[in-house]
């Protein structure tokens, strides 16, 4: 099968083009370095199936960061039959240097000047025919986001695929040492084909940034935006979640319970109170997940992440981190796994390790489910969103404390140089794709971990057969009893302890386990929790859930990204110690104050 590789600088729209070509759901965002690994998809082009490969962005072929090495190794080991070079038309003046470097590799290539719509708005005119002539490469202007110029580009790619695949030069780097030559070549090409206005027009980005990056208002605005986002998720998401839960409860009585009525009581209990209750409770969070990722998609796509990096870099520098580490913490709010992988854009290993040590404290969407449920059950409707927001602040605080304590072990002097892209807005299609992608991701996790988890919880809380269900003589009760001396000082009951043990696998299981342990779901479960716990215990439980151990997928990622088992074990151990210390301080402090 022939292979087409998408190559270009970071944040030029390669993944957007990839999604357009393959109908795939590569994660896109207005952030240089959102793609850090290879993605492939197959499409029918002309009469042949071809494989499309989306590569991480590279600034030049000399790059030293891990994501750039991925690309260099790829090009060296598998010469693509065609390279689609994606350049940002707005920045053609500088991005041409990468094209000229790539040209030296004698690849079979077609150049796509992407974001042609944006370039036009900036008053940049490009004569692609003239440019094509002076470089001897087919060049097309297009917009991968809106699809203009796409059919022509695809047609050109189909034609170019007929040429034989070139061979890669042996000494890839040695060829690239003459940059002086590139500079004069750039001037020659640009002179005749590109016109850029002397001064950038005063556009929306400039005006928005005067406010968003204001010396004093910038940070308060940032926290204000975060507060509104999480408030919004709680206000819209919680009723939706409760509604879906009620619907699942109705479905159980109306259809599922009668269906299983012929089965023996134990099996019936396992299926209904175990699998159905557990999975339904977790599945009720789908609307919150969708809502959350729609908000995240907007934040990522607008380019606000780079603004956050600008605002926070000075503070992060004091913790031995940089603005990009902060952006990864924000991305971690979605899921810690891609955030951990996102650190590949950092060149210094120490900086990467320190960033990876703090990212697991980022309050991911799985933990969000636990907190939405528990805070809605234990706090008044006015106080619950505040409780949730305070947990986000604790999430930052845990990261800050960790970085301050361990920055001495991970010293680095990595330079901080980052592109600030203009504000952009996602299309409706992009947002739907993102929402859909997250739902399927969530359901995949649900089928992998959550079903197995809740079945195991049910067995632990119902075996041995002689024990009273969920009583102290079941296996779960016995384990809870052992751990009680450790968890009693932080106000966590044996039932919650069992849920926490399973939360180690995936945080989504925590609420599912509680549903199984109590044999209740939805509002009945909230009621049971409210009866058994007071708000101090509940908050202590949430603090512990927030900080203790990354989930299994995050641990696996920590291990594979750091390639260091000792570091991974340290990250787990430290988070357990910190979680206990924070919960202990909070719980005992609140009790001492008389709450």
């Amino acid at each position: 099968m022939k292979r087409i590789a998408l190559l270009g600088m970071p944040n030029t729209g390669k993944s957007t083009l990839f999604n357009r070509m393959t109908g795939g759901a590569a994660r896109v965002g207005n952030w240089p370095g959102i793609t850090v690994e290879l993605l492939t998809g197959k499409i029918l082009l002309g009469a042949n199936m071809v494989e499309i490969i989306d590569l991480p962005g590279i600034y030049d072929l000399h790059g030293f960061s891990e994501d750039e090495q991925v690309v260099r190794h790829f090009l060296h080991d598998n010469v693509p039959d065609l390279a689609l070079i994606v350049l940002n038309a707005t920045q053609i003046e500088r991005q041409l240097s990468l094209l000229l470097q790539l040209k030296q590799l004698n690849l079979n290539m077609v150049v796509l000047l992407n974001m042609a719509d944006e370039a036009k708005k900036f008053g940049i005119t490009i004569d692609s025919a003239k440019m094509s002539e002076s470089l001897g490469i087919p060049i097309f202007q297009m917009s991968a986001k809106y699809g203009t110029g796409y059919p022509e580009a695809l047609h050109a790619a189909t034609r170019a695929l007929r040429y034989p695949t070139p061979r890669m030069a042996e000494q890839l780097r040695a060829q690239l040492e003459q940059d002086d030559h590139i500079e004069s070549e750039m001037a020659r090409v640009l002179q005749h084909s590109v016109q850029v206005p002397a001064r950038m027009p005063d556009n929306l980005t400039t005006r928005l940034d005067q406010l968003m990056l204001h010396p004093w208002l910038g940070l308060p605005i940032f926290f204000g935006i975060m507060y509104l986002l999480f408030q919004g998720i709680f206000l819209f998401g919680q009723p939706l979640q409760a509604g879906v839960n009620t619907a699942f409860g109705w479905l159980r009585e109306a259809a599922v319970a009668p269906l299983f009525s012929g089965l023996p009581p134990t099996l019936q209990g396992l299926l209904l109170d175990g699998v159905y209750n557990g999975v339904a409770t977790v599945a009720a969070f789908v609307p919150i997940i969708v809502l959350f990722f729609l908000f995240m998609a907007i934040v990522e796509d607008t380019g606000y992440l780079s603004r956050a990096a600008f605002l926070m870099d000075a503070l992060m520098a004091k913790m031995g981190l940089d603005g990009r580490s902060f952006v990864m913490l924000l991305m971690g709010f979605g899921c810690n796994v891609p955030a951990l992988m996102g650190t590949r854009v950092m060149r210094s290993r120490s900086l990467r390790m320190l960033s990876m040590l703090v990212i697991p404290f980022s309050l991911c969407s799985a933990r969000l489910q636990v907190f939405v449920f528990v805070s809605a059950a234990l706090f008044s409707p006015q106080a619950a969103p505040l409780a949730l927001f305070s947990l986000y602040l604790f999430s930052f605080a845990a990261a800050i404390v960790t970085a301050l304590l361990f920055k001495g072990q991970f010293p680095n002097n990595e330079p901080f140089v980052l592109e600030l892209p203009p504000y952009r807005f996602p299309t409706g299609r992009q947002m739907v794709m993102r929402g859909w992608h997250e739902v399927t991701h969530f359901l995949r996790r649900a089928t992998q971990f959550i079903v197995a988890g809740v079945v195991l919880v049910w067995l632990l809380t119902h075996l041995p057969a002689s024990a009273t269900p969920a009583g102290s003589d079941t296996f779960a009760g016995i384990i809870g009893g052992w751990l009680h001396p450790l968890f009693a000082p932080i106000g966590i009951t044996p039932e919650l302890t069992i849920a926490l043990i399973f939360g180690f696998v995936a945080k989504e299981i925590v609420i599912g386990s509680l549903a199984v342990i109590y044999g209740l779901s939805g509002e009945a479960l909230s009621g049971a929790l409210a009866q058994q716990l007071d708000w101090v215990q509940a908050y202590s439980f949430m603090l512990f859930t927030l900080i203790y151990t990354p989930c299994l997928s995050a641990i696996a990622t920590l291990r594979s990204e750091s390639r260091n088992m000792g570091f991974t074990l340290f990250a787990i151990g430290w988070s357990l110690v910190l979680a206990w210390a924070v919960s202990f301080t909070f719980y005992q402090g609140a009790r001492w104050l008389g709450y």
């Binding site: 003046e93 240097s97 990096a309 600008f310 870099d313 330079p415 901080f416 592109e419 600030l420």
Partner: protein
């Protein structure tokens, strides 16, 4: 790293104030950062404009052509410019 010897009067990029524009003279960094800066459009002779500086000694936002770049003051001190 850079070819041209800076001609007086040169100052560092870090010493410019928001709104100031100057011509890029030379880059004195290690090779890896030098390559990255080249790719971002830092080439001698180019016009560079300081847009703003972050509070608490944070990074600078500079504009070269149509690209806006954030860089720390420590990095900006390694870049010399000529003011008109």
């Amino acid at each position: 790293m850079s070819a041209a010897e800076p001609l007086p009067p040169t100052v560092t990029l870090a010493s410019l104030h928001p709104g100031d524009a100057a011509t890029l003279a030379a880059i004195h960094t290690d090779d890896a950062l030098y390559q990255r800066l080249l790719a971002l459009g830092f080439r001698s002779g180019k016009l560079v404009q300081v847009i703003r500086r972050a509070s608490f000694g944070g990074p600078l936002q500079v504009r070269i052509g149509t690209t806006d770049i954030l860089l720390r003051r420590a990095e900006a001190e390694k870049i010399t410019v000529q003011q008109p």
